[in-house]
Amino acid sequence: MIKIQHIYKSYRKVDALKGLSLQIPQGSIYGLIGPNGAGKTTLIRILAALLAPTRGEVWFDGEEVVRQPALIQRKVGYMPDFFGVYPDLTAVEYLEFYAGIHGIPRKKQASTVNDLLELAEMCTDIAIIQGGQLVVAGDVEHVTRRIGGGRQIEIRVLERVPETTALLKEIEGINNVTRKW
């Protein structure tokens, strides 16, 4: 459950959030809709413990976000609207890296990555597991900078799948298959 109590966030003279209060019960899906500059990104960054509110409190499963940022960040799946990719990693290496920093054991990484790529139809004829090793070809082998923008967004979404519990934003540009999950 997420509980937001009278939060304010100011950037110098600009008030991004003014006394916002909100409760999001567990298991529910909420969408934040608003024009540019309405404070959507600010709110999501506060919920992900990436930004501290100027005033007010945010609670996530009974823990205050600003007091337990590391704990909250482990629970939250966060996908920003603008993001970068590492230019010289293949899609598989990219996903394995995120699997690693999200604590997925090395033995499970190959199968997890393969499942995710299958989900995105990136490996219909290209990812084969032989003797526990992932043998790849085609799109998956290309470094991320050579993959088109839409594909990069897909990879970014996929990397969130194992851990996502709460937050996802800006899914424009993702193909229908990826959107399904």
Partner: protein, 289 residues
Amino acid sequence: MTFAALLTKELRLRLRRERTIWVLISYLLVMTLLGFLFISRNNPSNGYTVSTLGYGLYTLLVFVQLSLIMFITPAFTTTSINGEKERQTFDLLLCSRLSAFELVAGKLVAGLANAFLLIAASIPLFSLVFFFGGVGPAQVLQTTLVFIVTAIVVGTFGLFCSTLLKRPPVSTAIAYMFCIMWVITPWLLSFLLQLNVPFNNNAQATLIFIGNPILAMISTFTLGPGSPLGSYSFYGTSLAPWITFIIINLLLTIVLLLLSVWLVKPNPIGRLSRLMEKRRPKDKVVATT
């Protein structure tokens, strides 16, 4: 495991860049060229014996290598953290199981691995000195330790600048300024205060030069009995300048590393003030829908 994943990614990215191989090639070429010029100009017809030639070559290579380490190592770490922010990948690292220490240590180890690669690559060149003679293995070991500690200090300061400053060009400039000040300041002060640089029993000069890499490197050379460089005395124990250099700079490294760990996570000032204030009892939220 999270640390290993970050380190693997960093090493992959760094070693796949063309720049890495060109830096390595240029580094070895500069050292080789200077060494070759030295040998070709100073031959036995100029009054050089084989052992003095070896000693001279070693001296030249040591100071060229020290300068190159100070010049190149900051480039490996000064954009580690703020580069991630600029690339807009940093938030995703924060929202993972990586702790602040793992994040900083992973970046530092990857950056230093590049510096150590350069040091290791120069070992065959240094081994040429043994062919001429005049230098002992103990001296080479002391020199290598000074190289390694210099790389660690400069690399850690670069990483600290990267966590502290938002813009990569600014953090790079500050790190290089630190390197220059670190080397030059003691010599400048000793000149302005008219201290004797060979500082036997001079308390002021002893303090000024305590962390200086150039003096530490000079002290690794065998200067014979009654060396003008003298030694530092701590609680009755006499320590050579290169040993105090290592101790002082490793302590500085630990401080910089801890500061980087604190600064790398969001809202460091807010966290500090919360740490200072008395921890209030946790108010558990009762779910109300």
